[in-house]
């Protein structure tokens, strides 16, 4: 029971991050490898606020704002000038941005891990199992955020425009959609979600270092690919699946050293069986 809840809440974290990868891929047609490092930026924003005696709630707001701005600035300065450039150039730039973010935070905060305390939430008794409140919180808030995102994409004018841009950028432009603005909004939303993920992540692992974002970043990217990159429900499914598998593997002593291997093994198997991912859509070739 405990394992399931922990897995689901870790899955919610992965899903929140995976959404950033998948939305940016779907709409801007690029892999934003610096996305994981945005989590790290959010984490340090939270740390700084707490160190300045700010309330945790303020810290969360600051973290979300800082990440959103960071996402917009990165898109504007690094990726927008490369619109229409070769995918390889964009990919290399993304890796460069990733190292830049890590190096800058190392300059400011140093390389040593720093502890962070996000209050003590205690545990609750659910179905006869002691489950930590932070786990429940992650699960509930994460689900609410994802539900909001789904409604936003389905129901709002901007959300529909995002779907249009992801399907056919040229046709979207002919509808009068400001494609550059939609791409910017996508980066903003993806980064805001990464900030939320960073808060939940720190509740589980209360320690920061400049490379903090790498591992959850890679895991979430894996989740996005498993679910079908470009697909929003796919990212959610992939994230939850990976989170549960990770916690289950960790709970089995014989398997726990190989947890990461199992996760990436799953990725390989899924890509072999279904190259477009679980919920991925076949891209029609243009005629």
């Amino acid at each position: 029971m405990n394992i399931l809840f922990n897995g689901l809440s870790l899955g919610a974290i992965y899903a929140l991050i995976a959404l950033g990868y998948t939305m940016v891929y779907g709409i801007a047609k690029m892999l934003n490898f610096a996305h994981g490092d945005v989590i790290m930026v959010g984490a340090y924003a939270l740390l700084v606020t707490l160190n300045l005696q700010g309330h945790i709630a303020l810290g969360v707001v600051v973290s979300v704002v800082v990440c959103t701005v960071a996402g917009i600035v990165i898109e504007k300065l690094a990726y927008k000038p490369l619109r229409g450039a070769s995918p390889l150039a964009v990919l290399i730039t993304a890796i460069g941005v990733s190292y830049l973010l890590q190096s800058v935070s190392q300059l400011i905060f140093g390389a040593a891990p720093q502890p962070i305390t996000i209050g003590n939430f205690g545990t609750v008794n659910l179905f006869g199992a002691e489950i930590s409140t932070s786990t429940i919180l992650t699960l509930v808030v994460g689900s609410v955020i994802m539900a909001c995102l789904t409604v936003f994409i389905k129901k709002t004018r901007t959300g529909r425009a995002m779907v249009a841009v992801s399907e056919d950028r040229g046709a979207a432009l002919l509808m009068g959609i400001n494609v550059n603005r939609i791409i910017m909004i996508t980066f903003a939303i993806g980064s805001a979600l990464a900030a939320c993920a960073s808060v939940f992540y720190l509740m589980q692992i209360p320690s920061l270092e400049p490379t903090l974002g790498s591992m959850p970043g890679i895991k979430a990217f894996t989740a996005a690919v498993i679910g079908g990159i470009g697909s929003i429900p796919g990212a959610m499914l992939g994230g939850v699946l990976l989170g549960v598998i990770e916690k289950v593997c960790l709970s089995i002593p014989a398997l726990s050293p190989y947890t990461t291997a199992v996760e990436f093994g799953l990725l390989i198997v899924i890509l072999l069986v279904r190259p477009i991912g679980l919920l991925g859509k076949k891209r029609r070739e243009k005629v």
Binding site: D168, G176, N180, K281
Partner: protein
């Protein structure tokens, strides 16, 4: 008065010159067609005017102002609308959602609903299929949807790129009838066609494009009787 005025338009794909400085105009209330063989540069012309591909040289004036540097999405608000080559409807959205997307620049929700009803009377096939996913429509139905979608923004200038492509003869006639009808309701039309005979039959004037240059131009009725045009484009 010229609604659209193209002067010495040059467009390049990398180093390849696709349009070598073409000039033409579309006057308010006209139907003008642009005909020419495969690869002549018709689609390039349409897309560069709409801001989909960058213009290298020359001037495009629309509604009295230069639009070379105006971003494509703003042109829709200015009353320019295009049915692109290959239809390019949003395959994953329903017919209804596609039409709503066509009204992206329109703000009045109630008016949008009324417009969709109007489009569905103009295209009864769409009315029957509002909930259908556009990707599952037949080619002809997708063409109707692309046209209906382009009409949702109430254009002053409607540009159509090969609307008859891949359609059965009966449907081709239907498409041309719809274009004529829509023109009567007060919209200026720029039409690109391979089907030169049908295009000239509905047009006031026409331009013949040959590998990136205008090779001939004139009143549609004159071009229809021109011996060299007959030979090259009308298959006579």
């Amino acid at each position: 008065m010229a609604l659209l005025e193209v002067k010495d338009l040059q467009v390049y794909y990398g180093v390849i010159c696709a349009l070598k400085g073409i000039s033409f105009e579309v006057n308010q209330g006209e139907i003008v067609s642009l005909i020419g063989a495969n690869g002549a540069g018709k689609t390039t012309t349409m897309q560069s005017i709409a801001g989909l591909i960058p213009i290298k040289g020359g001037v495009v004036n629309y509604d009295g102002q230069p639009i070379n540097k105006v971003p494509g999405h703003k042109l829709v608000k200015m009353g320019m609308s295009q049915v692109p080559e290959g239809r390019r409807v949003f395959q994953e959205l329903t017919v209804y959602e596609n039409l709503v997307m066509g009204a992206y620049t329109q703000k009045d929700k109630k008016k949008i609903k009324e417009d969709i009803d109007e489009i569905c009377t103009r295209f009864p096939r769409l009315g029957e299929r509002k909930k259908q996913i556009a990707g599952t429509l037949s080619g002809g139905e997708q063409q109707m949807l692309a046209m209906g979608r382009a009409m949702m923004s109430h254009p002053k200038l409607l540009m159509l790129d090969e609307p008859s492509m891949g359609l059965s003869p009966l449907l081709v006639d239907e498409v041309f009838n719809i274009i004529k009808d829509y023109h009567k309701s007060g919209t200026t039309i720029l039409l690109v066609e391979q089907n030169a005979k049908k295009a000239l039959a509905v047009s006031d004037r026409a331009y013949v494009l040959e590998t990136g240059s205008i090779a001939a131009s004139g009143k549609a009725s004159d071009l229809m009787n021109d011996e060299s045009i007959k030979k090259a484009y009308l298959g006579e």
